[in-house]
């Protein structure tokens, strides 16, 4: 057996690590690149603002865009306040006891439940039992429960990064705990909470399985009137046109993927950049 000298084996090892890392990152860029290249020719004003035509082989995707936006808006409006309050409980009030351990374990497990199981749950509870039917609200509630652990975890990190001394300074003035949280802790945790929220919005915009049987419709050529309407949704639409419809014009599929990707990646990038920016100019 040949023994390499340590310096050389280090160089080889580091080179391999670098190659592997590139191997993971490059496909990400390739995926984005391919979709942009093949899809941008489909992006016209009519495509973004029109109704689908010819069994979805033509026309636009407006109802899918509006559907996704409505579901996601409702979901984040439900999950953000609940998640932030839960994070406040865990970070500011919870004692180190059995209850807290069970809560934390529940959060971990909630985060691990497969998205399609959330779909089943949403179907059973919101669509059937509560009789919301397949609707924006049923989908939004399902997604909001799915996203709850993510919001709780990121908000908690944000709260935790606010120095404990800020709380003491406020409490020592006779300010109550809640007032301290509302006026000192939350404002300083806000950038972190918001980046977490934006990342969550990005994530749920692209989720398909949870809305499959709770909100999404194959084809609804009109815009929703209320939260109890069934809607088209971008990710579901992409699934349908890429698997279920024969002779689909290629550029429409890519165009739909591009719109979804742009929506999701813009939000993710915003979140990443905001976080970077706030980390740099953090005041304490």
């Amino acid at each position: 057996m040949i023994r390499l000298d340590p310096k050389r084996s280090q160089n080889i090892a580091f080179a391999i690590l670098l190659i592997v890392t590139i191997l993971i990152i490059v496909p990400v860029l390739l995926i984005i690149g391919v979709i942009v290249k093949e899809g941008y020719s489909a992006i016209t004003w009519e495509f973004l603002t029109g109704m689908p035509k010819d069994g979805m082989r033509g026309g636009g995707i407006l109802p899918a865009i509006v559907g996704t936006l409505s579901i996601v808006t409702c979901a984040i409006c439900i999950t953000l306040p609940i998640g932030v309050l839960a994070a406040i409980y865990l970070n500011e009030y919870a004692k180190d006891n059995l209850l807290t351990r069970i809560i934390k374990l529940s959060i971990v497990n909630l985060a691990g439940v497969p998205s399609v199981v959330y779909g089943l749950f949403g179907l059973g509870l919101f669509v059937m039992l509560l009789k919301f039917g397949v609707s924006i609200i049923a989908g939004a509630l399902t997604l909001s429960i799915m996203e709850l652990p993510v919001i709780i975890t990121t908000s908690r990190q944000a709260l935790n990064s606010v120095p404990y001394s800020f709380r003491e300074a406020s409490l020592s003035l006779g300010v109550s705990r809640w007032q301290t949280i509302a006026h000192v802790v939350l404002p300083n945790a806000l950038p972190g909470i918001m980046t977490g929220a934006i990342l969550s919005i990005a994530r749920i915009s692209g989720e398909t399985a949870p809305i499959l049987f709770t909100a999404a419709a194959f084809y609804v050529p009109r815009l929703p009137h209320s939260v109890f309407d069934q809607v088209m949704a971008l990710p579901y639409h992409l699934y349908i046109i890429s698997t279920q419809i024969p002779n689909m014009p290629k550029n429409i599929t890519y165009g739909t993927a591009l719109v979804l990707l742009v929506m999701v990646l813009t939000m993710s990038l915003t979140a990443i950049v905001t976080r970077y920016y706030f980390r740099k100019r953090k005041k304490w």
């Binding site: 592997v20 309050l85 839960a86 909630l110 399609v116 959330y118 089943l120 399985a209 699934y239 979804l260």
Partner: protein
């Protein structure tokens, strides 16, 4: 009045804190009730060990062994590919990459996490699937192998970011000791850093596996959806998640088929619950 408001909001905070427990319990109860009514008509054992999933034929057959096998093959394949690559990338990002590049790489991994699974499924259909069909001369590229590759890719963000956290959490003093003895940075990494970070890496792997088992859209689009026990990696398979997603839309509500799908959901829930529980135990070790 202010005091009253404080009291009220603190109650609300406590209630929200409890919600996570409530939801986990609710999900479990729902799956148990809806899935449970399936077992009133069919035996649990034949459900798990039955080879045939013919939910719409008469008489219907509800054996999920082929589906379990499908999930298992795809997950195993994805894990074998994803774990070494993911851990290596995590090592590079945490220990080797220069500071400026580190941020870019991490953002890259985060972007990958953000790409919707249906988009990855679509890209897989138009790239990997034909590639595999021609390379291995198969009748269809929609196979367990294609699915495993795509899923390995999708599990990457989880494995990389959690392993990276674990690696960075190794105290500097450990490394300093080895470096002071004249070990190279690489020797220090594989003799000191990796063993010390192992619990965290195991947790990362478990969570990655959890993510792969639960993945739905991409596998449904890529693996070919044949509910038969695969003889090779290149056979089409159908996973548990894909079965639920593909069939729930067409079932008659409250039929045996409907309840059978909930029963599959229950099996999935129990599997992922166990995996996450194990991962959490390891993560707890890291924190100590």
């Amino acid at each position: 009045m202010r005091k009253g408001f404080d009291k009220f909001i603190e109650k609300a905070i406590f209630a929200c804190g409890l919600l996570a427990i409530v939801f986990v319990a609710l999900i479990f109860i729902f799956l148990l009730i809806e899935g449970g009514s399936f077992f009133k008509e069919f035996s649990f054992l034949s459900f798990l060990s039955g080879k045939y999933w013919y939910p719409t034929s008469t008489p219907a057959q509800f054996g999920i062994l082929a589906l379990i096998a499908g999930s298992f093959v795809v997950t195993l394949g994805a894990t074998v590919v994803a774990v070494p690559l993911g851990v290596m990338a995590a090592l590079y990002i945490a220990e080797v990459a220069p500071a400026g590049i580190k941020d870019i790489l991490k953002s890259g991994v985060e972007l990958l996490a953000a790409i919707p699974s249906v988009v990855i499924g679509f890209i897989g259909m138009v790239t990997i699937v034909p590639l595999i069909r021609t390379t291995f001369n198969l009748s269809t590229g929609l196979s367990a192998f294609s699915g495993a590759l795509m899923l390995a890719f999708m599990a990457m963000p989880t494995i990389v970011s959690i392993s990276e956290d674990a690696i960075r959490a190794v105290p500097w003093a450990y490394k300093e000791g080895a470096l002071a003895l004249g070990a190279t940075k690489w020797q220090t990494m594989y003799r000191i850093v990796i063993p010390a970070a192992l619990p965290g890496i195991i947790a990362a792997v478990m969570l990655g596996i959890g993510r792969v088992i639960g993945e739905t859209m991409a596998v449904m689009m890529i693996t070919g959806n044949a509910a038969a026990i695969p003889q090779s990696l290149f056979d089409p398979v159908r996973t548990m998640t894909a079965t639920i997603a593909a069939e729930m839309g067409e079932t008659v509500k409250e039929s045996s088929h409907y309840h059978a799908l909930f029963a599959i959901g229950l099996v999935l829930f129990i599997i992922t619950f166990t995996i996450n529980f194990i991962a959490d135990t390891y993560l707890r070790k890291v924190k100590k």
